[in-house]
């Protein structure tokens, strides 16, 4: 992977000047490279990983839903995926290999809300043949970031 993408995938808050010095580009070159990646859709967005549990907000529940579907004659899985990702509640949709077709990550305020969303919105969709909903109890690591705090155990009294 190109170093620039690696750097901003780990820390999108770096300035163009910082990215430039780290990769050995000029500031303009770094800015242009990022703009090109954005325009071509290689960089799709910038996201902050938040540990909601630390806020002690109990109004955010996440579930992973395994969907089995019957692919449509002309559009296969694509049109179904588009329909699913249209819902605001849906955080991510992926086509899977193996025992089911789509993995759908859904967030809501309560377990009840997600259950209703599955029952009333997802399950009734044409082509959906079954759903299996599993709720997330605790998140340990997200997008490569460890959510629980860990102390730096390195030997601080050594030179």
């Amino acid at each position: 992977m190109d170093n620039l993408l690696k750097i901003i995938s780990e820390n999108p808050r770096l300035t163009n000047a910082e990215i430039a010095v780290m990769t050995g580009m000029t500031e303009d070159e770094a800015g242009e490279a990022i703009a090109r990646y954005e325009q071509s859709g290689i960089i799709c967005g910038y996201k902050t990983v938040i540990n909601w549990e630390k806020l002690e907000q109990t109004d955010k529940v996440t579930a992973i839903i395994e969907l089995k579907v019957t692919p449509r004659k002309d559009t296969g899985f694509e049109a179904i995926a588009e329909e699913i990702m249209g819902f605001d509640e849906v955080e991510s949709v992926s086509l899977m290999s193996g025992g089911y077709d789509f993995s759908v990550c859904v967030t809501g305020r309560t377990f009840q809300e997600i259950a209703l969303f599955v029952a009333k919105r997802l399950a009734p969709l044409d082509s959906v043949t079954s759903t299996a909903t599993t709720f997330v109890l605790k998140r340990y690591k997200e997008d490569g970031i460890v959510l629980s705090e860990r102390d730096d155990e390195r030997g601080a009294d050594l030179l």
């Binding site: 170093n3 780990e10 000047a17 030179l159």
Partner: protein, 391 residues
């Protein structure tokens, strides 16, 4: 009992580490951002850990031969040949030690007699002088200067040599300055040493961490130097294996055989789980090194720029993972700067004089930290400087 009068005079008289009190202060604080640690922030590569676990599961938990497993000695010699073009005999020229530190201790104890002088370029790692003193030798500091990119120069070496000089320590890539001796610089040092009986201890623990596309050159590869040089290296910095405590020394068989004898009586053998892991690291770890080096290099550029932008002039290091910015412009001493920075902004860095009195006016800052950590520390240091200047 009056321990002070009973115990070994030399050991009692060795001053304690000067940075201890900073860490005591830091330990009392919350939200300290530290840039003080001298070890990688990466875990040991998984395949290396896996081999160690496997060796434990299979019950391979006994001693090894005193000098280390033959397979490891072979890999070490193979590595030095492949990376640095040096041919060593795995049967006679290598001893595997408990970290590079033990190799330094063995080498100095083996090479010096009481009354000998040991030349130590400074600023540098802190262990050479105490070990030389414990061996009854006198440590003589050679000051390296920022104007010379903190390299040892032939002139300063020549001026320091007396009839008692036994050993030159060559600690490059250097902790704390990040200085590197390139081939041409080593040639000029070799020029001074050729024709003398002065031995060399080349501490090459940071040999894999050099930047700007300039691979490390070992002084042992310069004509006339191999016969007088003990090379010390290890797995801590290059493979992120500090806690495994594994290093080695390579050198002429007559020196290494005495070192191996001392090692045998003091240590028996280096930990064998670590030795199994090290074999794997040498066989399959080149890619890990390259990845970590690449990461350090990006941070190095970021932090050098950061300090220069703050107005603290920062020599561009070509090796290791430290920067050594000059803080004289603040009017503070190194210790003053570090203590105030710690108390006011909760940022921990190490005063330069911990690495020899000539390090006064500098601070050592490690970049073995994530970019967001580095940037947060720089932000706080910037605030600190503005407040100090305005007050």
């Amino acid at each position: 009992m009056d321990y002070d009068t009973m115990l070994n005079r030399t050991a009692v008289d060795i001053p304690p580490s000067g940075i201890r009190r900073f860490f005591d202060i830091a330990a009392e604080m919350e939200d300290v951002i530290s840039l003080s640690v001298g070890e990688p922030d990466f875990p040991t590569p998984w395949h290396v850990r896996d081999v160690a676990i496997d060796s434990l599961q299979k019950g391979r938990t006994g001693y090894s031969p005193n000098r280390g497993f033959t397979a490891l000695c072979r890999e070490i010699c193979g590595y030095y040949s492949r990376r640095f073009g040096l041919a060593y005999d795995y049967k006679t020229d290598v001893v595997v030690t408990v970290g590079g530190s033990e190799a330094i201790d063995l080498a100095i104890r083996t090479m010096v007699n009481p009354g000998d002088e040991v030349l130590v370029p400074q600023p540098s790692f802190v262990c050479y002088e105490p070990i030389a003193r414990l061996a009854g030798a006198k440590s003589v500091s050679i000051v390296t200067r920022v104007e010379d990119s903190f390299r040892l120069t032939a002139d300063s070496l020549r001026e320091s040599i007396t009839s008692r000089t036994k050993l030159l320590i060559l600690p490059f890539p250097n902790n704390p300055t990040g200085a590197v001796m390139r081939r041409e610089h080593l040639e000029s040092i070799a020029e001074v040493l050729r024709g003398t009986d002065i031995l060399v201890l080349a501490d090459e623990i940071y040999s894999e961490l050099t930047y700007n596309g300039q691979p490390h050159v070992s002084i042992a590869s310069i004509e006339g130097m191999k016969e007088r040089t003990v090379v010390v290296n290890g797995f801590s910095k290059s493979y992120a294996m500090t806690g495994w405590r594994l290093g080695y020394a390579l050198g002429p068989a007559p020196i290494v055989s005495i070192m191996a004898k001392v090692h045998q009586y003091a240590i028996m053998c280096a930990p064998t789980t670590s030795q199994h892991a090290a074999i794997e690291a040498l066989r399959c770890g080149d890619e890990d090194i390259a990845k970590m080096r690449d990461e350090y290099d990006m941070r190095r550029r970021l932090i050098v720029r950061g300090f220069n932008a703050l107005g603290l002039e920062c020599f561009e290091p070509e090796g290791a993972f430290y920067v050594f910015p000059c803080i004289r412009s603040t009017g503070m001493t190194s210790e003053d700067f570090c203590e105030r920075l710690l108390r006011k902004k909760h940022v921990a860095v190490v005063p330069g004089n911990a690495f020899g009195s000539c390090g006064e006016g500098f601070i050592r800052v490690s970049y073995a930290y994530s970019t967001s950590h580095i940037n947060e520390a720089l932000r706080r240091i910037g605030q600190f400087l503005r407040e100090e200047i305005n007050s």
